[in-house]
């Protein structure tokens, strides 16, 4: 009666996933309590410029003799702020937008989706660039810019999901039971739309972190001396020939964080999908 269940290859619990969670936790701690991990990120030491890793400076020092470890640690905050902040905002805005488009009547829905079409008509970074152009650079504005770039995508997905849920058999069943629309919206539609969205959002944190770093690499994000991985890389470019640690550590921090966030998101997704029949 059913198609032969060609079972998927058996997946082991991967230690990599644990490492990802651990690293994420570490990054979060660094963002919250940087002082636990390193000294001041802006302490200039003209006598120890561009040192390689060594005692006192495990990651070496930068062009002003600042401790790279400290800057990487303190940089976590900006990156997470941009990554998490824009994802959360975009998730919230996108959900409201998508739900409105799906359930808010024809005219509203059309208008909402066409606006999304416009914003999705060109790459996200370009949208973000434009927004930064209007608002000016900085951490907060970069976050807003990425939010605006991400939100229409979320809106579209939420809308599709909301339509699926709206037409699903279980919402039909709930209507049949005579439940009130508001209750159906609250108890069935919103939770079933948001659950997959949350996972999608987790997967998007990495994208947002990269986008944030790209913006500051282009000089449109947080400004030095505030430590930020993207702008550290931008400066490191001038010293490629002289000091490898300068480019290595912030870059590795981005990659590892994004990798961990994505791995965690995928693990959540896999769990969610497995829970589904």
């Amino acid at each position: 009666m059913t198609a032969p269940a060609l079972a998927r290859p058996y997946r082991k619990v991967r230690p990599g996933l644990w490492a990802a969670w651990a690293f994420l936790a570490l990054v979060c701690c660094a963002a919250l309590f940087p002082a636990l991990f390193a000294g001041a990120p802006d302490q200039v030491d003209a006598t120890a410029v561009l040192r390689g890793p060594g005692a006192g400076h495990p990651f070496g020092t930068d062009q002003l003799g600042r401790d790279i470890l400290a800057r990487v640690v303190y940089g976590a905050r900006a990156s997470l702020f941009v990554g998490l902040g824009s994802t959360l905002l975009a998730g919230a805005v996108g959900s409201a937008w998508g739900l409105l488009a799906a359930l808010g009547g024809r005219a509203v829905g059309e208008a909402a989706m066409r606006l999304a079409d416009i914003l999705l008509a060109f790459p996200g970074i370009l949208t973000a660039l434009l927004v930064v152009a209007v608002l000016g650079p900085g951490t907060r504005n970069a976050t807003l810019a990425i939010t605006i770039a991400l939100a229409p995508g979320f809106a579209r997905i939420v809308r599709v999901q909301a339509l699926v849920v709206r037409d699903s058999a279980y919402v039909r069943a709930a209507i049949n039971l005579g439940l009130r629309p508001w209750r159906i919206l609250r108890r069935h539609i919103v939770p079933n739309v948001l659950a997959p969205l949350l996972i999608l959002a987790t997967l998007n944190v990495g994208t947002a972190i990269i986008a944030g770093a790209s913006l500051s690499f282009l000089g449109l994000g947080p400004r030095p001396p505030a430590p930020e991985w993207g702008s550290m890389l931008a400066q490191a470019r001038n010293y490629l020939d002289v000091s490898w640690t300068l480019a290595l550590f912030p870059g590795a921090a981005i990659t590892l964080t994004v990798m961990s966030a994505t791995a965690a998101g995928r693990a959540l997704q896999a769990r969610y999908e497995r829970r589904e029949p």
């Binding site: 009666m1 079972a7 290859p9 997946r11 058999a169 049949n176 039971l177 029949p277």
Partner: protein, 610 residues
């Protein structure tokens, strides 16, 4: 007798999975000769498909195949290399996968799919390929083969798709044809045609391995039958004898559970369901005869009667299920007020091409309190649409629905809401009608008013539908099909409805489970006094539950009347054709291939099976 083409002896197949090993097939032995048909019958998950796929070397990933003998035309299949297997597949053994909907590549034209075995085995030149494919399509009774060749699977009806799949399987003229559930999900008339095509192959000398969960289907074609239960062949032997006098209790139950359109309606309240045992006889938990010996040790396959083998300590000991006359079905007092009055319902839908098609056309009927009205009809005849209008999921284009004599259709949803609880639905696919985040308890509780004793009510309802309260905390995804349907029924009963609309409630279930659900519905009707609007494409099922029946075709009701009257003396030609096509498990010789019947499937019918 000729040399056997296929010899399987002591075949076991285990799978390694995340949840540990699965013993899909245990110690199965079969033989099959050219020109013969061996039917393998069993419920879902009994290992039918795995057995069949083993003969193609396609048991699946992580399969551990062991056998004392596994030979095809004298070749030891256990020693074949990948290349030799490929030469066997399609060329020597044709395989018709179950579910034609997904077994044809949806992105390729039918012609390509049919031609693939020819191409792979170099049996056709580029020039005559098309001719051969056209010939094959014609051979399996597909009209306009030149047109069909260029169509895609989704453009074909279920019956045509199934036949195309058969055409592909027989393209290279294999000596063995394996048909895995070739008629499941097809309407009875289409089903009959497909069986005819297979019969023709068998008569042409091809060995046929027919897999089914439906004994009635098997009865038409099989020379031999093997009954599979939990991976074990519990009984096998010549079809006629085996079906006439089942020796294994499982076979007996299986036979009894098949709803039939004639003869007495059996009382199935004694059927039990329980998971197969891992130790001893797998059927022991469900067997009325089981004792400690059964629970401890699985017997060897013992000869029984002439040429039969049975794996039972008490072969032939099963009590032939007592045919209780229709006493279970309450008879409705004639003067009962109609609960539901349906008058002149009409509903049109827009097709993607912009044209309109009438799904329901001037349908009228009454449903009295406590009555069960069945609606039958082939796929696409408008049964579900009617049900959904009755449920006020959408408005009819014309006509009206009255509930207790008061308007029900044509209202604002707000005005209807308070009376929503009067009509409830039980669907074919209960799983999708449960919020995936809800537990069984929450699903049922949602249907109840928010009172203090809600928890007790939930437990009570579950007891009423025969469910263990232990499943309260589970999610529907973790339940079996039968359990899910019981939860759905419990939820439908929760608000204390007057009418229960059942849209194909059992068509996705194994016969024994189906029988249990049908018994349950009958009992509920008696106990709770609800009326049933019961939709099914299976005439036997209708007969088991309903008092009256309405036969639908192309959106119209072509005939209504008391079930017994209609089935004994059908008036409409369509009803007669429908009844004639129903496969029967009768005594007597196997049916020879019938002359091909004219194609009833209109070319424009693009709808697949539900």
């Amino acid at each position: 007798m000729t040399e056997p083409l296929v010899v399987v002896d002591g075949l076991s197949v285990d799978f390694t999975t995340r949840h540990g090993p699965v013993r899909a097939v245990r110690d199965v032995s079969l033989t099959l000769r050219a020109g013969e048909c061996l039917a393998v019958v069993g419920e879902s998950g009994s290992g039918k498909s795995v057995t069949a796929r083993t003969l193609l070397g396609l048991a699946g990933q992580g399969a551990d195949v062991r056998a004392r003998t596994l030979s095809f035309a004298g070749h030891d299949l256990r020693r074949l290399g990948a290349r030799q297997w490929r030469r066997l597949r399609g060329r020597q053994v044709g395989y018709v996968l179950q579910d034609a909907l997904t077994s044809l590549d949806p992105l390729r034209r039918i012609g390509y799919e049919v031609a693939e075995p020819l191409e792979v085995h170099g049996l056709a030149t580029r020039d005559d390929l098309d001719d051969q494919v056209v010939g094959l399509l014609a051979e399996v009774g597909i009209p306009d083969p030149e047109v069909r060749l260029l169509q895609y699977p989704h453009e074909l009806s279920g019956g045509l798709r199934q036949r195309a799949l058969i055409a592909s399987a027989i393209a290279a003229r294999p000596r063995l044809l394996i048909a895995d559930e070739p008629t499941t999900a097809l309407d009875v008339t289409v089903q009959a045609q497909v069986l005819d095509v297979l019969a023709a192959r068998r008569d042409a000398g091809t060995a046929l391995l027919l897999i089914s969960h439906d004994l009635a289907v098997v009865a038409r074609l099989a020379d031999h039958v093997a009954i599979l239960y939990a991976g074990t062949v519990v009984e096998q032997g010549p079809a006629a004898e085996l079906l006439a006098a089942p020796a294994h209790p499982y076979t007996a139950d299986l036979l009894a559970a098949v709803p039939s359109v004639e003869g007495p309606v059996p009382d199935l309240s004694g059927l039990r369901s329980a998971p197969a045992a891992q130790e001893g006889c797998p059927y022991a938990p469900r067997c009325p005869l089981a004792d400690d010996r059964c629970r401890e040790r699985l017997p060897e396959a013992l000869p029984y009667d002439t040429g039969r083998l049975v794996r039972c300590w008490y072969p032939g000991g099963a009590p032939a299920s007592v045919p209780g006359e229709r006493s279970a079905v309450p008879v409705v007092p004639a003067r009962a007020e109609p609960v539901l009055t349906v008058r002149g319902l009409t509903k049109r839908f827009r097709s993607p091409d912009g044209s309109h098609r009438t799904a329901v056309d001037d349908v009228s009927f009454d449903l009295a309190a406590g009555e069960a009205l069945g609606i039958v009809g082939e796929s696409g005849s408008g049964k579900s649409t009617t049900a959904r209008i009755v449920l006020a999921e959408f408005e009819p284009d014309a006509g009206s629905v009255l509930l207790h004599g008061e308007p029900w259709s044509g209202l604002r949803e707000r005005d209807r809401r308070a009376r929503r609880s009067r009509i409830q639905l039980v669907d074919q696919d209960p799983l999708s009608s449960f919020d995936p985040r809800y537990t069984v308890e929450e699903v049922v509780a949602e249907a109840l008013p928010r009172t203090r004793d809600r928890g007790e009510r939930v437990a009570e309802l579950l007891g009423q539908v025969g469910l263990d309260p232990a499943i309260l905390r589970r999610r529907p995804g973790q339940l079996s099909g039968g359990q899910r349907q019981r939860v759905a029924i419990a939820r439908a009963l929760a608000p204390g409805p007057d009418v229960l609309v059942c849209d194909e409630p059992v068509s996705a279930l194994d016969v024994t489970v189906q029988a249990q659900i049908l018994t349950l519905l009958t009992r509920l009707r008696r106990d709770a006094g609800v009326s049933l609007l019961f939709i099914s494409h299976d005439l036997g099922v209708i007969r088991q539950v309903c008092d009256r029946v309405a036969v639908m075709k192309d959106g119209k009701v072509v005939e209504t009347g008391q079930v017994e009257t209609v089935f004994r003396a059908p008036q409409a030609t369509y009803t007669r054709a429908l009844l004639a096509a129903v496969p029967r498990i009768g005594p007597g010789p196997r049916v020879p291939a019938r002359p091909r019947v004219p194609e009833p499937v209109p070319v424009t019918d693009l709808k697949g099976p539900t």
